[in-house]
């Protein structure tokens, strides 16, 4: 009975979600980043601060799209947002490793990735913007 209620709630949330009901996300980089593709592990290392540079050697500027974070991290490492926040909370204490900048608007993410060579971020599919390069698609 409880499972049924949960399923209903999730469906409702999905309906009430923003313009994109489907959770298809794409990791994007600057065209001049020097990388064509990114493995899932490389992506998780970059987004969780383990790698400070992109595989090409360019220092990474990691950007979070706030509305998509929940879905993104679940898709990427299978963790909930509180878990991710707790993780960063530990690291923020040392001050050496900074969490990604959190940006409200997806278009702004696109804008910054297009502008900064080491920038990396994620947007909803479809993201057919010529200024950025799509390197990893996340989704079911």
């Amino acid at each position: 009975m409880k499972a049924v209620v949960n399923t209903a709630l999730i469906s409702l949330l999905a309906l009430c979600g923003t313009r994109t009901p489907a959770a298809e996300l794409m990791i994007i980089v600057n065209q001049g980043s020097g990388i064509e593709q990114l493995s899932r592990e490389e992506a998780s290392h970059v987004f969780l601060g383990r790698l400070k540079t992109l595989p090409s050697g360019t220092p990474a500027v990691v950007l979070d799209t706030r509305p998509l974070r929940e879905a993104f991290y679940r898709a990427l490492v299978g963790k909930s947002l509180p878990e991710i926040n707790a993780y960063w909370a530990r690291l923020r204490f040392s001050g050496r490793t900074q969490p990604p900048d959190q940006i409200e608007d997806a278009s702004e993410v696109l804008e910054r990735v297009a502008r900064q060579p080491g920038a990396i971020g994620f947007v909803e599919m479809p993201a057919n913007d010529r200024r950025v390069r799509q390197v990893l698609r996340l989704g079911d």
Binding site: L48, K79, G95
Partner: protein, 532 residues
């Protein structure tokens, strides 16, 4: 306890007071200390083991508590965070050194290894897994437990136990000392002091220490008193016995010393060892005491010593008293007759009893002399002449012996006419005349009536006898003056028997003289005849 004992007494008594107490206390301290030391040692070992376990568990728990943060630090390659974790761990006193690796790279190494090898605990290593992919290892954490702490902690714990035990030990020892002092030593010391100052034989008793009447100390006091009573009884009876012995000894000594009889002991050599004052006085011996040298009785008796030897041999061999008379000289030079009784004692010793029998001897001698004399003339009588004749014959050596029988002629007429008194005077006068004629060594006797005997000894020849006989005949033929003008006229017939041998029997000699005398009578009287 109330009076202060003298210094010497205190020195003597102090060890008694402190001996048992200090010994008991020291023994308790020793054994309890031994046990305490063993307990402390054992507890050190056990505590050390427990400490090791605890330390290891502690380290494990610590690692567990920082594991996630360490994982994050390793995952994020955040040396700062790793350093924080390591410092946090080192802040705990169980941790000695921490190393956090990311892959093969050492992110942080804090603390330093100890050189202690034997005590070292194994380094705890824990893999650090990725916070996001639990199957992926991102690094490891190594933690060295602070093994040296174990010894410190265990040592501190043991010291704590030792201090507690020591305090308990001191308390127990003090309690034991107090108990021994009050329950045992004080009463014993009281007893000892009472016994020490007790005067034997005074009737004093040892008082039972207060509160100990029912226990062993009370029994000890009772036994001591019983012993004192018995000892005093023994002392009394001993004293009484000694007094009795002294009394009887004195009595016997008095008997010995006051006796009017000589007493002495004699050894087998004839030497006197003890003699009483009477003997010393009588014989002129030195007073006998402990230091007196033995005095030879043989020397005292002089020529009679051989008889003493015979007497001693007889007494010793017959084992019974033997007695004999001895003649000796008194202290004042008188002749002394002693009656000596020797009584054999044990050990070849003789007991001697001496009595002065000089008076008896003298009386006896005079009685004998009286019996041999004629009361009227004072000459020897028949018995006396027989005795002397025997002696004269026995003593015959050189020369001859003549026996003359003198019979008066006409005496009967004198007796009848002038009376018995005149007769007696005639006899006395004849006796004197005969004595005046013969030598002093010759013997004159009256046989009885008017018969006389003259014995002449040591004669060169019979002629001497003839000459004397003639003299007698001539002398007696003269008238004998009686009272004034009254004269008695008598004569004498003499028979002579002569011999040169001692084998001649006195009776035979007498008979021959008698026959010769009758022959002279028959021949006409007033003449002498020689027996053939």
């Amino acid at each position: 306890m109330a009076t202060e004992p003298s210094p010497s007494a205190r020195q003597r008594r102090q060890p008694l007071l402190h001996g048992i107490v200090s010994r008991t206390t020291l023994l308790i301290l020793f054994f309890a200390g031994l046990v305490g030391a063993l307990v402390a040692l054992g507890s050190t070992v056990v505590v050390a083991q427990e400490e090791r376990k605890r330390l290891q568990q502690n380290v494990t728990d610590l690692i567990q508590s920082v594991e996630r943060t360490a994982s994050v630090a390793a995952f994020a390659r955040d040396e700062q965070l790793a350093a924080e974790v390591a410092q946090g761990l080192l802040g705990n006193r169980s941790v000695h050194k921490v190393v956090i690796r990311e892959g093969n790279r050492v992110m942080i190494e804090l603390g330093h290894e100890t050189a202690r090898s034997g005590r070292a605990l194994p380094v705890q290593v824990r893999p650090l897994m990725s916070p996001f992919m639990p199957e992926q290892q991102v690094g490891e954490i190594e933690v060295w437990p602070a093994a040296h702490r174990i010894d410190e902690d265990a040592g501190a714990y043991s010291r704590f136990i030792a201090v507690i035990l020591g305090m308990q030990l001191v308390a127990v020892a003090l309690a034991a000392a107090w108990v021994v002092l009050n329950v045992i030593t004080r009463p014993v010391k009281t007893l000892s002091d009472s016994l020490h100052s007790l005067r034997a034989g005074s009737g004093d008793r040892v008082p039972v220490p207060a509160g100990h009447s029912g226990d062993e100390i009370g029994r000890l006091a009772g036994d001591i008193n019983g012993l004192i009573v018995r000892m005093e009884g023994m002392l009394d009876s001993e004293r009484e016995l000694r007094a009795q012995r002294e009394e009887s000894e004195k009595r016997f000594r008095l008997i010995f010393e006051a006796a009017q009889t000589g007493m002495f002991t004699l050894d087998a050599e004839g030497c006197m060892h003890n003699w009483n004052p009477w003997l010393a006085r009588t014989l002129g011996l030195p007073a006998c005491n402990e230091d007196t040298e033995p005095y030879s009785l043989r020397r005292l008796l002089g020529p009679e010593a051989s008889r003493l030897d015979a007497l001693m041999v007889r007494a010793l061999s017959d084992h019974r008293p033997a007695a004999a008379d001895f003649q000796t000289t008194s202290a004042h030079g008188h002749v002394l007759w002693l009656h000596l009784v020797l009584n054999p004692m044990s050990g070849q010793l003789l007991q001697g009893i001496v009595n002065d029998v000089t008076d008896q001897k003298r009386a006896e001698a005079s009685a004998i002399a009286m019996a041999e004399r004629d009361a009227l003339t004072g000459l020897l009588n028949r018995r006396g002449i027989e005795h002397r004749l025997d002696q004269a014959l026995d003593g015959l050596q050189e020369g001859g012996l003549a026996l003359m029988l003198v019979d008066l002629d006409g005496f009967k007429e004198v007796n009848d006419t002038l009376g018995h008194e005149a007769g007696d005077r005639v006899l006395t006068a004849v006796a004197r005349q005969l004595e005046s004629i013969v030598r002093r060594s010759d013997v004159v006797a009256r046989l009885g009536g008017d018969e006389f005997i003259v014995v002449l000894g040591a004669l060169d020849s019979p002629d001497t006898a003839r000459f004397i006989a003639a003299k007698i005949v001539t002398s007696l033929a003269r008238p004998i003056e009686l009272d004034g003008a009254v004269h008695a006229r008598i004569g004498a017939s003499v028979g002579i028997a002569y011999t040169r041998t001692r084998d001649e029997m006195p009776d035979a000699l007498m008979r021959r003289a008698d026959e010769a005398m009758y022959e002279a009578k028959r021949a006409g009287k007033s003449q002498y005849r020689f027996a053939s």
